[in-house]
Symmetry: C2
Subunit: 522 residues, 2 copies
């Protein structure tokens, strides 16, 4: 009863004075629940046009909330986009990039030496100031060495793993990836946490679901505002689902994984409703990068009508499904054409908590509250980076490519194809093509698939370029790149002996330390 009253009071106050939020003596700010998918594509949800339409819960979430068809990640790869979400900053600023090759994607495999720098201020760390309790469920991916541990960066609880669930390994040349509960490992993938690569069976989404439901229940009971970051990975190859879902999708194993996640999201939203906290919980669903078409069709999703996928800065690599849900606050059944970014979730969450983003650094995220609560549209650019290279920018309906590249001819000839079935001459190039002086410009409204570059001689091209040029210049002139974290690899830093391994008798002996330049082929 007291909680309900507090919520009502808080809502009233929000209407009267948004500035009062989080101030001393103010009522409880809303809970924040970010549902971050792994390699799920824009086209994977029924509401985004997936023909099999197997996501009734996510479609209902959209019908009850707000859809953002123009929502972008900050990088077409997992680690940098996750670092961007939690810092509100482009990877080029927070260090999640490499300088070891031009326009190269980099991430955090277990031989990576770097991770999230202590100088970065992460969302859960900041939310503490407003009394939030924070949990990460699932994939961290911001570095796996002790100093990068999520509980050292503001999270209070963790259930999940630091790296991708690749494997199985032999624990000699390469250890299996550990699964942590809070500070310590509780097992490893393919050992205590089995993934059957042949059948695709794994119980992990169910475990992640229970972790979420349990955390939500505990915080609701304790009347504490919470931040839950639900970063599940069933749709990342090797794709998995639990037995009740295997073989149930028209889309094969990938679809089974999507169906299990959809079912879990439905259960999470229902639990918020059952606990009476739906109207005091802001929920946002999105993905870390576009569908990995290299794994399609059996282990990869769909980017709908967009060009290429993960690893590329075409729309298929960077545009993400996005749904905001906050019953009673965000009007139901709306579509926002706001250009949104995964980094906006940082600023929006702070704003919900009544906090300001740090002022001592550049923040790339905007608060989406004006878009969500008042239907406002804010003019802002979306920058598309690959490593330390600004590949493209979108402003309004216009996207300008300064560099085009998919992957090298050498890789492509080996069958590594980020754009299967797609080929736009002069655009999906296999050499790094520079267009900085005369960018290729597309109108994304008429041509969301980036197939028809505007004519360089057209008035439309010149007008678009005239608008884009100063925005890019301003961005580049003010940019202070962070210390690159993804340059150095070392077999010795792998997950040989994570904290807690002694209790389990699962410590492995690392090889000799040999730091080397990481190899980032694309």
């Amino acid at each position: 009863m007291a909680a309900v009253t507090a919520v009502t009071r808080w809502r009233l106050l929000l209407v009267l004075s948004a500035a009062a939020l989080g101030a001393a003596g103010a009522p409880q700010p809303p809970n924040i629940l970010l549902l971050l998918m792994d390699d799920m594509g824009w086209g994977d949800l029924g509401v985004y046009g997936e023909p099999s339409r197997e996501t009734p819960n996510l479609d209902r979430m959209a019908a009850e909330g707000m859809l953002f068809p123009n929502f972008y990640t900050a990088n077409p790869l997992c680690s940098p986009s996750r670092a961007a979400l939690l810092t509100g900053r482009l990877p080029i600023r927070n260090g999640f990039y490499t300088t070891s090759g031009h326009a190269r994607n980099a991430y955090t495999p277990q031989e990576i030496v770097g991770g999230i720098p202590d100088s970065e201020r992460l969302l859960p760390e900041l939310l503490k100031e407003a009394g939030y309790v924070s949990k990460i469920v699932g994939k961290w991916h911001l570095g796996h060495r002790p100093q990068f541990h999520p509980l050292k960066h503001g999270f209070d609880e963790w259930f999940g793993s630091p790296n991708c669930h690749f494997g199985p390994y032999d624990n000699r040349a390469r250890p299996n990836i550990p699964v942590y509960r809070d500070w310590e490992m509780v097992g490893r993938y393919y050992e205590e946490f089995p993934i059957n690569l042949k059948t695709g069976e794994a119980n992990l989404t169910q475990i992640y679901l229970q972790e979420a439901l349990d955390f939500i229940r505990r915080q609701q009971a304790a009347r504490r505002p919470f931040f839950l970051y639900w970063a599940v990975d069933a749709t990342h190859a090797p794709v998995y689902a639990s037995k009740p879902f295997l073989g149930t999708s028209q889309r094969g194993r990938y679809g089974d994984a999507v169906r299990e996640i959809d079912d879990s999201v439905g259960k999470i939203l229902h639990s918020l409703q059952d606990l009476g906290i739906a109207e005091s919980t802001f929920v946002f669903f999105t993905s870390d990068n576009g569908a990995a078409l290299i794994s399609a069709p059996k282990q990869g999703g769909s980017n709908g009508p967009f060009l290429c996928g993960k690893q590329t800065t075409f729309e298929g690599g960077m545009r993400e499904p996005a749904v905001a849900w906050w019953p009673g606050r965000i009007p139901a059944g709306q579509v926002s054409h706001q250009l949104g970014s995964i980094m906006d979730l940082f600023t929006t969450s702070l704003s919900l908590a009544g906090l300001e983003p740090p002022r001592d650094r550049a923040i790339d995220g905007l608060s989406l509250l004006p878009a969500m609560l008042q239907g406002q549209l804010m003019d802002r650019p979306i920058f598309y980076y690959r490593g330390n290279t600004l590949m493209a920018v979108t402003l309004g309906q216009y996207k300008a490519h300064f560099w085009t590249w998919t992957n090298s001819w050498e890789e492509f000839r080996q069958g590594i194809d980020f754009c299967p079935g797609q080929n736009v001459s002069g655009v999906t190039t296999h050499t790094q093509e520079e267009h900085t002086r005369l960018p290729l410009i597309f109108h994304l409204g008429r041509d969301p698939g980036e197939r028809f570059p505007l004519s360089f001689a057209s008035t439309e091209y010149l007008d678009a370029l005239r608008r884009i040029t100063p925005v890019v210049r301003q961005h580049q002139e003010a940019l202070i790149p962070g210390q690159p974290q993804l340059n150095v690899c070392n077999q010795a830093v792998m997950n040989w002996a994570p904290p807690g391994c002694e209790k389990l008798g699962k410590c492995l002996t690392p090889p000799e330390s040999v730091p080397e330049k990481c190899s980032w082929p694309h």
Copy 2:
């Protein structure tokens, strides 16, 4: 009041005994309203994932009705697919094909000599037996010579034109296309019915809307069951919209046309509700073929995640947006995975009227009522023809291509591209490739974009082929092709002096009659 009572009685009767429908003394069967789009693609509606989401009325229609994501036309070109809709028969049966080249698409330009044969029994002709009054608004496209006139084939009223709205012509080498009201022409495109090619302005959708609203009102007042075939063409190049819609879409002129049609559909559905006949009117929305990607991005739509477009037998050419709406009868917010065909609208409509399809000929359409009213799924093949050539078949989730072809290298080198930005090696071929012995097979659930043919050696391939082969053999063995109507062209048969031209002083003198083989380049 009487009408409401009749409707209620009829609904009761339908529940008690579907067989009683249309029998002597039976109450009034439902009105039938088919909304047929021109070159609109699967991906053009918000509910099918169009990123700009500018079709609120069609999306609402889907939310209140049933979506068919697996719905197909009978041919990737306008005339044959329209002939198939109205006869319930494949073009190879009803004569809407050519034998003048292998796998060639043919249609009814104004120099065509053929048209719908008298031996074909059209839907409005059959519906007369159940007391329906029928009107066609918009494009007929089943032949423009006097014997092919829609009012000779069962329609009671017509407002529209016999051919595409191409032009303007000089009325010397080639006449402008006439616009008819019922038996006689009332003007010509680019003359009495202007289309501004430069601005895209034309008032035609508004006229077609008023024709529909007027017809509906009149039939409702007269308490007569009606069949309205609303065949608008604003989304066919040259794409047009009226002034209030021009420039309003994020998608350019094509989007303006879609927005105007969406608005019109909303007005039509509202009018049914206002007149109290929504629950006694079956409405179905679909399109004649995939989006014409040759006209993209300025004058062509979107086929979403599907391969290629109009003119091809890939999914982009043949899979159509489809929504059924019948408040109180078809449950709201449903998705049917039934493989549906435009020809099913023939059989479904007859079934709604309590009529049986003709028994003296092969009918390819099924009644979709079991799918729509009871959620049943019926196993049935979808055949993909180009001219007289069976290019492909879909059975369940498997699609087998017996021939692959887009267009010739010669055309392609001239810039005519049915698959811009798409290129699936060995699939989107520019020579006619035969695969009749070893078809290319795709799993459309995992791979709706037809990018990953199954391995010939896989068990899955062999199982699929084993299911498909007898179905195709049975189809081909039983097939009796109709007399081809689209082989012969003649400048003398063009719209020089349509009926009514005398009154308007708009008769033109035809040239000498020189019948010749039509040229069908692809």
